[in-house]
């Protein structure tokens, strides 16, 4: 595991941008402190030799669950549209992507 287990302010700002979360400066300081202690805690996993272990990628032993490739009518479309803050002619309306 990586030796460095702390997050710089610059890294945190990058992560927050990737996650589309605006943080205020006070939140940033607390988060850096919390993340450092949590990441420090994770170091204990380094003790374990897991080279020959196959990663467990989910909660189930199932493989390839299929459904019929058939057309299905969605009878509940309007409920989704109603939840949008703004819609036009049954479509989602969003603020401009480019300025």
């Amino acid at each position: 595991m990586v030796e460095k287990a702390s997050i710089t302010k610059h890294e945190l700002e990058h992560l927050a941008k990737l996650a589309r979360i605006k943080l205020d400066p006070k939140e940033e300081d607390k988060l850096i402190k919390d993340l450092d202690s949590i990441l420090g805690y994770f170091k204990e996993l380094q003790e374990l030799d897991t080279a020959d272990i196959v990663p467990m990628t989910g909660g189930t032993d199932l493989h390839n669950v299929f459904r019929e490739d058939a057309e299905r009518e969605n009878t509940n479309r309007s409920a989704g549209v109603e939840a949008f803050p703004e819609s036009k002619d049954g479509f989602l309306k969003v603020p401009p992507v480019f300025e």
């Binding site: 595991m1 990586v2 997050i7 890294e11 945190l12 992560l15 927050a16 990737l18 996650a19 589309r20 979360i21 605006k22 943080l23 205020d24 939140e27 607390k30 988060l31 919390d34 993340l35 202690s37 949590i38 805690y41 994770f42 204990e44 996993l45 374990l48 897991t50 272990i53 196959v54 990663p55 467990m56 990628t57 989910g58 909660g59 189930t60 199932l62 669950v65 459904r67 509940n76 409920a79 989704g80 109603e82 939840a83 949008f84 803050p85 703004e86 989602l92 969003v94 603020p95 401009p96 992507v97 480019f98 300025e99």
Partner: protein, 485 residues
Amino acid sequence: MEPLHDLTIKKFHEGLLSEEFSALEVTQAYFARIKEKDSEIGAYLSLAEKSALREAEAADLAVAKDEPIDDLAGVPLAVKDCILVKDLPATAASKILEHYIASYDATAIKKLRAAGAVFLGKTNMDEFAMGGSTENSAFKITRNPHDLERVPGGSSGGSAAAIAAHLAVAALGSDTGGSIREPASFCGVVGLKPTYGAVSRSGLMAMTSSLDQIGPIAKTVEDAAIIFKTISGQDPLDATSVAAPYGESLTHPDLQKIREFTVGIPDEYFIEGISPEVSRAVESAMEKIKGLGLRLKKISLPHTRYALSTYYIIVPAEVSSNLARFDGIRYGGTMAPTERAKTNLSDLYLKTRGEGFGAEAKRRIILGTYVLSSGYYDAYYEKAQRVRQLIADDFKQAFESVDVILTPVVPTPAFKIGERTADPLTMYLSDIFTIPVNLAGLPGISIPTKKNLAPHELPINFQLIGKKWHEADILGIGQFYEKID
């Protein structure tokens, strides 16, 4: 009318059939009690009085017409707010979903509705089921009915408190790392976390998809079994759900068979840091189970101590993906229309998510983004998935020589409100005995060690862990245990 304090699903059903009371009367009695008591407890986030009374009348009509009715017909239930009930609010105790109304029923709700159940309202929880005390709710705290200065546990704290305070007959919760079993212990009620895949997750807001399960919180193990029997089963809307051959033995256990079980007691769960009263209570439960005729055997689950680290890598990773859908658009916005008109899409996301998510949600999203990012993925996320396999293998090996495993649920009884909010790691520690069960995908049940508590005494539960798809084993032992005086 049967006082609400004693009302179980079983007793309700008998009373309804013998026309001792109507479902409508009982439902009205619950709303009267909620209005009187819930300002003190804070179990509910929203009530559904109008629809609930209608559902109760439908059950009464079926009784009047002599139609065959299900065990759950007319039974007033509470539902955790991250589980969708059509036309009712579903906020998951998050500001980002403050105005969201569910547009469909979760599959578990659909099944309960088909059985004729009544939905009283939606219960408080830690935001998006992240926490162990219900203090992470964006709207309010919930108090422990046994001591109002203490937390009810979490994240299904509202559901557990509602049952302990007699504000519903039974409830649904969800459990990702202990969120049904820990609050059940703090509130002294029964909580079942089913095998991963036993209950459809359709309509449960995803927190950690590879760990989340819906399960019952009830006054008795028998009631938990009745609900589990109804909500389990394969569902085309959840590709990880499985058609398990559950039968009558869920609700009608066979004592002869159960007496032949060997109960594993893992060394790693009786560690320093566990409070003396928890040790004593769990040991007394072991003695009673021995008294039923079962054999106890010491076992080892050597990777237990790595479960917490593993869990807090896997969970944030999945959280950061699952919570990406809450963007201030698709499930309703929180931004004022005048402000919306002046913003661009990117700023709308940043602002909505920055203001709409609470501290724990943000912590996990950022941490998850970090452990999944290029350069750290192998070191954290993949490493955690490998250790998860080692933890699952521990159980697999243990179950070669035992039928069920008995452990404490939480190292301590309910803690005080505000006691653990400053440091996330101390909060995480209350789940050390429940997390391994989710990582391995096994069923676990949290059962009160004691039926009648002395004044000021706090409840303490013990946990039974079963083999995959063997809910009948742990429910069976529990049903015989709760009959011991």
